[in-house]
């Protein structure tokens, strides 16, 4: 599983990863939340994004995939996934955001040739709060911002070569 995969390590092959990440997240929102994500015309301010969901990747690709959003957006996601009132969403919103991150990670790796079997995912972890530092052995980082019901959702992939 950890044998080098030239197709994954070349910078050229990684050029397509960012749009693939974006597509992976758009598909998850369309299929599971019945809500298309919009590409912002201008990058929105990343303020108040105090819910962070993380899934670790290990194997031929090592790193972390994170999804960040506001608590309001997380509650709206839980509402759409479960058919509950967003106002009453409690722990469900952590579970919802965690599961979204997990599905985005899985969908992404299944779209990259050679990663499906060569990369494992951790169970998701969710951090609430914005004042934290996360230190990982990152060599490369890519991120994209999409709009969910007009609110920013930031998707990041931090890769450890």
């Amino acid at each position: 599983m950890n044998s080098p995969n030239p197709a994954l390590s070349s910078a050229q092959s990684r050029e397509c990863w960012l749009p693939t990440l974006q597509l992976a997240m758009q598909e998850v929102f369309e299929l599971m939340l019945a809500c298309p994500l919009e590409v912002p015309v201008e990058l929105p301010l990343e303020e108040g994004l105090d819910i962070t969901s993380m899934v670790g990747l290990a194997g031929q690709l090592c790193g972390i995939l994170t999804v960040r959003c506001s608590a309001k957006s997380a509650a709206r996601m839980a509402s759409r996934m479960l058919g509950i009132d967003a106002e009453t969403a409690g722990p469900e919103m952590w579970d919802a955001v965690g599961e979204i991150c997990n599905m985005v990670a899985g969908n992404f790796k299944n779209k990259i040739t050679g990663l499906g079997d060569g990369c494992m995912l951790s169970v998701p972890t969710v951090i609430t709060g914005a004042e934290y530092n996360l230190h990982s052995m990152v060599n490369e980082e890519m991120h994209t911002t999409l709009l969910f019901e007009g609110e920013p959702v930031v998707l990041s992939l931090e890769v450890h070569n």
Binding site: E27, V28, L31, M32, D50, S53, G56, I64, A78, M81, L82, G83, P91, E92, W94, D95, A96, V97, G98, E99, N102, M103, A105, G106, N107, N110, G116, D117, L121, V123, P124, T125, V126, I127, T128, G129, A130, E131, Y132, N133, L134, H135, S136, M137, H160
Partner: protein, 190 residues
């Protein structure tokens, strides 16, 4: 990888799905307060699914009616979505049993008359592939169709799951139509 968490709370949604209150929070040292052996939860109407109960599932037009479905996933949100998808697929479901991992699911099939199992792969305690393997050794579970529902969508994982005894495989994200497409044939073939 190390993380310095200063102020914010860290949650494992998996655990929050099962326990209310303190479970699921990670202590500052990074240790998860994990409590295994959580009870099986049930939802839906309670008829037709208890062992030797009067309302055993009936075949109507090739489909199962009043079935008892066991949904195995460490995410309570995903279990609810799968349940909703089954209902949207037009299945008449008498009872839904839920389990947060393979070990809980094994206990559930030994205590209940289950007609269909939908199972995630990546779960704590006992993963879905191990569950399917161990299920084959449970006499009372012979013939219960298992459909995997997972983010692990590679060909290798599909082969592993089918070799272990699963009858179907659905990749997340999925639509209710995909659930219908994969679940109805295995129920009809049961």
């Amino acid at each position: 990888m190390g993380s310095s968490v200063n102020g914010p709370e860290v949650h494992c949604p998996t655990v929050h799905a099962e326990r209310e209150g303190c479970a699921g929070e990670v202590a500052k040292e990074g240790r998860l307060k994990w409590t295994p052996g959580l009870p099986i939860k049930t939802s839906g109407e309670r008829r037709g699914c208890d062992s030797m109960g009067p309302g055993r599932p009936e075949r109507i037009g090739g489909n199962m009616n009043n079935i008892c479905a066991l949904i195995v996933d460490d995410s309570s949100v995903m279990r609810k979505i799968v349940e909703r998808s089954l209902r949207q697929a037009g299945l008449s479901i008498a009872q839904v049993l839920e389990a947060g991992n393979g070990a809980e699911a094994l206990a559930a099939v030994q205590k209940n008359k289950v007609d269909l199992i939908l199972c995630d792969i990546n779960m704590p305690v006992m993963d879905g592939l191990e569950f399917v393997k161990q299920l084959s050794g449970v006499e009372s579970a012979k013939g219960i169709p298992v459909v995997m529902i997972t983010t692990e969508g590679s060909e290798g994982h599909v082969v592993q799951a089918l070799s272990a005894g699963a009858r179907g495989y659905i990749r997340k994200p999925f639509t209710p139509d995909q659930v219908k497409e994969h679940v109805l044939p295995v129920l009809e073939a049961k």
